[in-house]
Amino acid sequence: MIGRLVWHNTLHRPLRTILSVIAVGVEVALILLVVGLTHGMLHEVGKRIEGVGADIMVQPPSSSVFLAFSGAPMPQSLAGRLSKLPNVAAVAPVLLQMSSSGGLDIVYGIDPASFRAVSDGFVYLQGHGLEKPDDVLVDDLYAHSKHIRVGDTLQLFGHDFHVAGVVEHGKGARVFLPLQTLQQISGSPNEASLFFIKCTGRGLTGVVAKEIRNLLPGYEVRPLQDYLSLMTPTRVPGLNTFVHSMITLAAAIGFLVIFLSMYMTIIERTREIGVLKSLGASNIYIVQALMGETMLVCGAGIVAGLLLGYGGRLLILGFFPTLSVLISPGWILRAAAMAIAAGMAGTSYPAWLAVRKDPVEALAYE
């Protein structure tokens, strides 16, 4: 019976209900998209690094796991010393540079032969590999987002490059230049930002990593099988704070809209509350009815939020195919829980007002 009352009360003011549902939906979608974008970007970067196919990555001392924040380059000649270690199959030096033309992208300067030895080579969707100093390779998502085809000219670091090939995404960066070319442009001759290392066998990663640490004490030696687990927001300065701030803002939106909606509901239904009290309804009964309405609105809002969130994800990926939006079941549950908690918090004061109403005054309310 209380379900019937809740259902009909919720439908009694359809516009107010719809607006409340939308507000909760926006709250849920905001949480999912903000978290999805941050986690997605980190996850996607991590997957691409793992996608190189190397077993170990060597970086200069005190380097960040986020390659964009890498430290000063290392001598390229270290590759020779590393390749002489037992159980090392191949070593690929890579120079990283951030490009800001048309957005922020990390560009890899690679030696094609050694990179192929470590990664088993690119999968070419169009064109061919890096053959000339001014050749550039781009991955398919980059090509799609920038509307680039083989043969086009791409400007990077103030230089024009010829798009030699479009490759399948997932091997480190989205843009690849010849190592020597990038070294020249960046003023870092014979230097590398990192070395990707392939071991002779899967189970030898630990052994090789130990040998590298002995050879190069203080250098960052990271087995790549665990790399993805390192890509968390806590490792990016300020990112966690940003995410938490957005979540708090989203929850505040839901709280305020539900608070206002239920407050208006209590004012409007003063006489009905008096009638329920005259029938002998307890305070718990009245609170249950109000919370029931809130739960119904929040439930519908969560569904709306999921639709908005997934729809937003499609839109973002449609316009920005190089981005990644990771909506996980865990965060769907968290967003839903936050929406419900914010809604119940928003209803608590109006519910308290309702149970405190004097039934005689409430019955006389016009």
């Binding site: 009905e272 009638v275 029938l279």
Partner: protein, 227 residues
């Protein structure tokens, strides 16, 4: 026979700003089980306040009021709510039906609040007696005043309360519907032995009752004693 309602030196004082306004001034009243009693008086004499105190909607300021042996003056708000749920039915001048529920829902919610669940036999008996069978799926906005008041009466008696308190039940009805409602109340009293206290300022309405108590300035000024 013990009275079902007994008021002794009953006072109710409202605080309006800095001023105390006594709405009831030492009311003495006995109502026996099965009686149909009308309380008549001009506007502002305290009739409604007396009804609300007897019904446990508000607590008295001084004195005693016993409802089926329970002293309302000594009860907490929660206890009075429980008592009201189990022993009191209200009918109001403005019907006070829940607008979002149909007639069936308005009656059934009283059973739900009572806590014994939906009793289809009792529901059928009451709705048949009050001629509501054809209107159960209609909302208050789709019913006439007379129909709404019959739904309100059904809601008030569905849980077999010890006492039915009616606050100007015909105040918003035309003559024909007023007669119909008053006949139904009389029928409830005669056939089911329902104890009824009805307040009105209309002598024609008061004439339906066994006994009429007159009120003025917060006191019962005359009326035939209960025995």
């Amino acid at each position: 026979m013990d009275p079902i309602v007994k008021a002794e030196e009953l006072w109710k004082v409202y605080r309006l700003g800095k001023v105390d306004v006594p709405a009831l001034r030492g009311v003495q009243m006995d109502i026996l089980p099965g009686e149909f009693v009308t309380i008549m008086g001009p506007s502002g004499c305290g009739k409604s306040t007396l009804l609300y105190v007897v019904g446990g909607l508000t607590s008295p300021s001084r004195g005693r009021v016993l409802l089926d042996g329970n002293d309302l003056a000594k009860m907490s708000d929660a206890d009075r709510t429980l008592l009201r749920r189990n022993k009191v039915g209200f009918v109001f001048q403005r019907f006070n039906l829940l607008p979002t529920l149909d007639a069936r829902g308005n009656i059934a919610i009283a059973q739900h609040i009572h806590g014994n669940g939906f009793d289809p036999h009792r529901f059928d008996l009451v709705t048949r007696m009050l001629g509501l069978r054809e209107r159960l799926d209609h909302r208050p906005a789709e019913m006439s005043g007379g129909e709404q008041q019959r739904v309100a009466i059904a809601r008030a008696i569905i849980n077999e309360p010890k006492i039915l308190l009616a606050d100007e039940p015909t105040g918003n009805l035309d003559t024909k519907n007023s007669e119909s409602v008053l006949k139904m109340l009389t029928q409830l009293n005669q056939q089911l032995g329902q104890t009824i206290i009805l307040i009105t300022h209309n002598p024609e309405v008061a004439a339906y009752a066994h006994r009429v108590l007159h009120m003025r300035d917060g006191q019962i000024v005359d009326g035939i004693p209960a025995d």
